[in-house]
Amino acid sequence: MTTASRPGAPPVRDHSAKRRWVGQSIRRVEDPKFLLGRGGYIADRITPGTLHAAVLRSPHPHARILRIEVAQALAAPGVRAVITGLQAAELCDPMPDFGPDPARHTWRCLAVDKVRYVGEGVAVVVADSRYLAEDALELIEVEYEALPAVVDPERALADGAPLVHEALGSNCAYERTFDFGEVERDFAEADVIITDRLRWHRSGGQPLETVGAIAEYDPGTGSFTIDTNTLSFTSYLFMAANTLKVPANKLDIRPVPAGGSFGSKLFANKPAVIAAMCSRATGRKVAYLEDRVDNISNCDHHGSDRVYNVELAMMRDGTMRGIKIDVVDDYGAYMQFGVGHHGNALAQVVGPYTIGSVRYRVRAALTNKNQQGAYRGFGSEVNNWMLEQMVDKAARELGLDPVATRRKNFIRDFPHFIPTGNVYDSGDYDRVLDKALELADYSRWRAEQKRLREEEGRYIGIGVICAQERSVFSATEFWFWFDEPGAPVTSTPESVTLKVDATGGITAILYSCAFWGNSPETMVAQFVAEEFDCSPYDVSVVYHGSRDGLPATGPGGSRTTVMLAGAVEGAAGKIKEKARRAAAHLLEIAPEDMEWADGGFRVRGDPERRKSLAEIAIMLHLFKHSFPDDMESGLEGSKVFDHPYTTMPSADRKDLGVFYPFMGHACHVPVVEVDIETGAVTFLHYAAVHDCGTLVNPRSLAGHIVGGTAQGIGTALYEEYVYDEDGQLLSSSYLDYLIPSAMEVPEVGIGHVETPSPYTPHGVKGGGEGGRMMAPAAINAAVNDALAPLGVRLTELPMTPERILSALRAAGRAG
C-alpha cells in the first residue's frame, strides 16, 4: 500500500540543525513544588467558607426511581441544599456527549427517572463540610423498582435483553462493517486461516487523585469560574457551557495540576457541572471532589471491554495476507466519546506488518456498567494485544519461529499507507527488534528456559511483541464512522503564546493544557530554550483558563509534546521576526543581513555587532520612539498550531484518510515464570525498546515507559472492574481493584531508537502511552510461551491466578 506521493502530506522537514536542549535529560521544571508539598492540586485550593458537595449513588445496577424523599436531609445540620436528579435536569442540560445520537441515550449529571449502573448519582447534598454532607446523604430515602440488569455485552445484543435505554430500542448503539483492501481475495488465496476468540476485560486509569472541581457562580456577571483537574477543550467549551445553560464566554475553566490522569481526566466534566450547579443553587463557592468509590464506580472513564472473533489469513511461509476482525465493545450505560476508541485501533490495525487487507466489524453494546472513557492507549492497546496474540498463534500452528514470523512481515518503506488509509510516517522496526533482543539477552534466556524446564520442571516464558504507538490524533476519527456525520469537524489545534518581558525573561502561556504527570512545562521550557538559547529553568509557564483562551485541545492521544513543539516553534518565529527587524533598525543594517546566534541577532560576517534578546526586548518595551512608526511596543507572539497532517476520508469510507500519522513503535520482551500450582506469574527479566522519533527528554520518556509498563502489568495480570452477573460492582475499592505495587513491577531495561518524524518539529513523535500499549500483549505472549509445553494458551485478560488455573484445568493440566 506504500504510496509516498499521495496528496496531502506536509513538507518534509530538515532535522540537521544541532540541538542543545532537545534531547537532554534535564531535571523537570515542574518538580520542586511537588517535592515541597506545594503542588496546588484541586483539594489544596479549597478556601474557608467553601461548601462541600457529596453525591448519593445508586446501589442498583438497573432500577426505576419511584420517589426520592429529601426533607430529613435538608433539615440536617449544616446542609445548604439537596438537589435530586429530577431537579438537576431542570437546572442543567444533558452532559457533553460525542456519541452517536445522544438523544437516544441521554446522559445527565445525575440520573433522572432510572439508574443504569451501580454508582450512578441520584442526588447531591451541599453542606458546610464534607462530613456533614455525607451525614445527610444517609437521610435521603430513595424508593427504587429494581429492573433486570444486562451485564454481558454479547447477551446485551441478543433479542429480548433488558434495554438500558428504551429510546434506543436495542442495546446496540453502533454497528458497521468496514472493508479495506481486497479482503475476500486475500482470504481466498491464503494457505491457512488462523482463528481465535479473545476477551479483554475493563480496567482503568485510577490516578491516585480523583477528579474534582471548585466552582463559583457570580450572579452579578452571570459567569462561572471553575477550577478543575480536567481539561477545558477551549474549542469545545460551548458544550460544557450548554450543559450549564450559560454562553461559553461566561464560563472560565481553569486547569489545575492533576495527581495523574492516564486519560481518565479527559474532558471529565461531570464533577465540574455538579459543583457549578450547586454553586448557582446556593449562591456560594462549592467544591465537589470524588472519593475513591465515586471514582471507581462513577468516573465515566472505564477502559475498553472487548470480545474479539478474529481470522488471520496466512501463507505457510509465514506471510500475513489479510485479517477479519469482529469486535463487540461493552461501552457501559452511556458512550460519551462514541466509538473513537476503534479509530485508535484502525490507525494501526495491521501493526508493523505488511498485511494487505482488513475487514473490521464493530458493535458497541450498552450494558448496566459505568461508561467507557479514556485510558492510556484509548483502544489501540487492545488492538495491539489482539494482533500479537494472532501472530503468536499463527506461528505456533504453522510451526514457525515467532520472532522470524514478525520480521518476515515488517514494513520497511516509509511513508507507508496502511489499508485503512492512515499513514506510518517513519520507522525502523528491525533496529528496534534487534536492540530489544540484545537488551533482553534473548538467546541466553531461550537456553535457560529449556534448561529450567528440563532440569527443574519450571515453566519460564519469553514474550516478544512488536507493536505500534500512534501519536497525535486528528478529529476525523470521531466521525468517519458515519456516512452523514452530525459534526464532521477537522480542527484539533494546540496554542502557545510566548511573551518576552522588558528584561528578556520569557513566559509561555498554554491553553486547555494541564499538568497530568506528563511534563508540559519541561517540554515547553526545553523547546523555548532551544529557540532562544536560554536556560529552560528561566522560562515561566502559565496554564491559562478557557474563557479567553486560544483554540486548544490539551493532552490526549500522545499529542501534547508534538503539538506544543509546533506551537512554540511558530510563536518563537514571530518573536524572532520582530526582534530581527528591531535589532536591524538599532544597528542600522538590513534585516536580511542579521542572523540569530547565541541568544541574539548579529550581523552576518561581523559577529561582534549584535543585540541580545534582552537588549532588543528592553528597547521594544520602553523605547517606542527609537523605532519606525509601524513597530508596536512589546515583544510577544502566539501560534495556533493545527494538526500538521490530516486528510479527509473517502465518501465510501474504504479509505479513512490520514488521522494518526506520527507512528511510534516498540518491542517488549518480558521473561516470566508461571507457577502452575498457584497460577501466579512472576517476572524474571523485562526489556523494552521504544522509538518515538527524536527524544526531547530521554529520562522523562523512560519514566513514561516504565510507568506505562507497570499499568500494563496491572491490565495483564491484576486489574479489573468486576461486575457480577447481577450487575453489582465487586471491585469498588483498592482492596479488590489491584494496582501493582513495587513488588509486582520488575526493573525494566529500557532502550531508545530514534527515527525522526519527517513532518514534526525536531522529528518528535508522541510517546506517553507506549508502555501500556505494549505490556499487556507482551506479558500474555510470555505466559502463553511458558505454558506452551502444556498445550495451554490464555486468551482472556487479566490473567488472574484463577483464570490461569482454570485454563490449566480445562486442558487437564492442573498442578
Binding site: 523537570r28 515541597l36 508539598g37 489544596d44 491516585l208 519514566g703 510507568g707 475499592s733 526493573e747
Partner: protein, 171 residues
C-alpha cells in the same frame, strides 16, 4: 449523626507537635488526622488517595513511624510528634531525598510523592544502607501510578549514599 447523642462530646482538645511546631486544637472526635493536618493546620502536602488505608498516599510519620493519616483520627495523635513533607526541606535547601527524587525523576504527577518521601525517611532511618531490592520491598507499602517505582528506588539509593556521607563528615 452529630447531635443525636447528647452525651457524645462535640469536640476534644488535642496537643500535637507537627514538624517541630506545637499546636493545641479543638477537634471533633471523628475528624480524620489527614483532614486535621490539611485543613485545620494548613498543611496540604499530605494527600488523600484511597481513603481506606491501602494506597499509602497519606503517609506521615507519627513518633517516627509511618502511619496512614486517612484512617487515623486526629484524637489518636494527641500528644504525638508528627512529621509531614512540609518539614523536610530546611532553610530553603531540599532534603537529600527530595533532591534525588528530582535528579532521578522519581516523580511524575507528584501526588504519591509526599507519602513516598515520608516512607523513605523511615526506611533510611531503620537501614541507612539498603540494597535496591530492600528498598523495592519496603516501598511496596505505597502505590505510585506513574513511575513504575524504578526511578523512586534509584532516588532512595542515591539519597541514602548522600545521607551516609553527610553523617560521616558530621561525626
Amino acid at each position: 449523626m452529630r447531635g443525636e447523642n447528647p452525651l457524645a462530646p462535640t469536640t476534644c482538645t488535642i496537643t500535637v507537635t507537627v514538624n517541630g511546631q506545637p499546636h493545641v486544637a479543638e477537634v471533633e472526635p471523628r475528624r480524620l488526622l489527614v483532614d486535621f493536618l490539611r485543613e485545620d493546620l494548613g498543611l496540604p502536602g499530605t494527600h488523600i488517595g484511597c481513603e481506606q488505608g491501602v494506597c499509602g498516599t497519606c503517609t506521615i510519620l507519627l513518633n517516627g513511624a509511618s502511619i496512614r493519616s486517612c484512617i487515623t483520627l486526629a484524637v489518636q495523635a494527641d500528644g504525638a510528634e508528627i512529621s509531614t513533607v512540609e518539614g523536610l526541606a530546611r532553610d530553603g535547601e531540599l532534603h537529600p531525598l527530595q533532591d534525588e527524587f528530582a535528579a532521578k525523576q522519581g516523580l511524575q504527577c507528584g501526588y504519591c510523592t509526599p507519602g513516598m518521601l515520608m516512607r523513605a525517611c523511615e526506611i533510611l532511618a531503620e537501614n541507612p544502607d539498603p540494597t535496591p531490592a530492600e528498598v523495592r520491598s519496603a516501598i511496596a507499602s505505597n502505590l505510585c501510578r506513574c513511575t513504575g517505582y524504578q526511578f523512586i528506588i534509584e532516588a532512595v539509593i542515591s539519597a541514602a549514599a548522600r545521607m551516609r556521607a553527610t553523617k560521616e563528615v558530621a561525626s
